[in-house]
Amino acid sequence: FFFLGPSIDRKMWGIARRKNLGQALQKVLPAGSMTVREALNSALDEEMSADHSFLDGLESTRISKGLLEKYGPDRVLDTPITEAGFAGIGVGAAYYGLRPVVKFMIFNFSMQAIDHIINSAAKSNCMSVGQISVPIVFRGPNGANAGVDVQHSQCYAAWYAHPDPVVFLENELLYGESFPISAEVFDSSFCLPIGKAKIEREGKYVTITSFSKMVGHALQVDTFKGISAEVDDIVRAVKRACYRSILMAATT
């Protein structure tokens, strides 16, 4: 399992965003392409080399490919399947300034650890009045998957809609999808801000907001009955701060 610094999420969403942008606005010339999985992997790699990040959780997919060999078992920790325990361990390590990235196989399993996500990670900064902050990232696939059961398909975006701690909701179906990206993305200091919605496609009469996999679907609502539709990707901020962008978009 992995620990990564907080900027991975910004980069991640930049990647996902770029794909849709590339599709919709042909004037952007992509400088290469990358699957979401590769994007995650490279972002994790960059952050682990940048600071005291380490990975914590159950990671048996290819997202962590190569990181165990590169950083060793002290920084890429394979844990037992004990979410409450390893999420809490991540919080305790974050208390002392390490940068854990806690991975859940899917976000449904975060229910086993929700005591730590909310009661210790989210509230410690408030309880200790800023003496102890928790620079932790919880990540993992979220939402719909193909043919898995009810208990593996829930979307937790509404549950984790606040910025502290960072809860990074991915989508399993997108991992293998490839998106074109521009050259600047390869710069190790590239990152995108959390909290700002991205206009994927300009339009005049209707605003469609979405996040994650649904952005792709929304973009396919192309010239819906001849009405040009603007598509906003709010994936980077499932919270109030981007309401302003939505409001602006809807009123103009």
Binding site: D74, I89, Y95
Partner: protein, 429 residues
Amino acid sequence: MSAFAAVRIPSPVLVRARSAGEKPYAPFVSCPAAHGLHRTHVRSTRLGRPLLAVSSDVLSGQKSLGANSSPSHHAVVSREEALVLYEDMVLGRVFEDMCAQMYYRGKMFGFVHLYNGQEAVSTGFIKLLETRDSVVSTYRDHVHALSKGVPARAVMAELFGKATGCCRGQGGSMHMFSAPHNLLGGFAFIGEGIPVATGAAFSSKYRHEVLKESNPNGLDVTVAFFGDGTCNNGQFFECLNMAQLWKLPIVFVVENNLWAIGMSHLRATSDPEIWKKGPAFGMPGVHVDGMDVLKVREVAVEAIGRARSGEGPTLVECETYRFRGHSLADPDELRKPDEKAHYAARDPIITLKKYILENSLACETELKAIEKKIDELIEDAVEFADSSPPPPRSQLLENVFADPKGFGIGPDGKYRCEDPKFTEGTAQV
């Protein structure tokens, strides 16, 4: 480095609680005479057999096991150490008694859980720690904070909800945090502090092994305090496993006061001997008389020493008792008077006082002087807390998010956190 990789799990070290005469440990058996063992109150269980909580020898068991039937212990501490222990326990007791008074006078409110009777556990462990070591506790954390070095003024002001408290009034009785003293809370949910403590121990090991920041005196140790009820909780077992797997520098201290709020430990637990859960995970499990600070201290020396040298975690079960109810709102009707009387006779402060006087480590007047000093300290703490200002309204929204901009943009287009009305709670949202 390899300890982290845990590629090979060593065979578990089975340490049993020793009984006098080194007989194989038979549970629920009282051993006659001999030093260090006290026959405790006989209590019949639903299973029909008499159950005796037995206090045991310490982990290393190096004491001479003569047939001396006097309950005194041989001098294991120096005069200075004994006085430090005495003062710390008296501080804890007087502070908690004052809390009760203040609560009934309406100066503090909400949940207040007092530690009377359990002082030996806190003092026995925490007085052996250095400032760099961490302590994680539960809602019954006032005395842990005091033992760790948080000033009585700061703790009292926190209980009163004043801005001069250790958490500026926002933590309250159950959430004592102090970064300079490495006191990591204060958690209301049972079992919640255990993974956090395990993570703190992980960070200590990580800093040593990966970041190569070594201290010549060994690793920073984390001590996690929790109760008997927590030992049935899933997070506890998850952390015993991971702590032993990675040989983390942590000591798990169970304050077994036989009651989880109103649930008797014996009725709630399939096997009430908590120390046995340690060897099941490959770590030593020790049972110790938690009403005797010197015994607790001896076990603590060894457990903390193990952790510091990187040998891994220890599970220590301290048989102790809380003289008051679960909280100040608890009428405490469920516990039998004879059980309470039995443990009141084993009051740790009285026991230590007797020991000090019998071994001529100090005289009565010196102990009285310490008590007077503590009384004055607590009165000063109350006055300080009383005269401190309450927190300003603007404090309410600080620290909710690590980045204050987390509240987003307001209707006027500026960040909400920059609007003074918002932080005072009077803005239009």
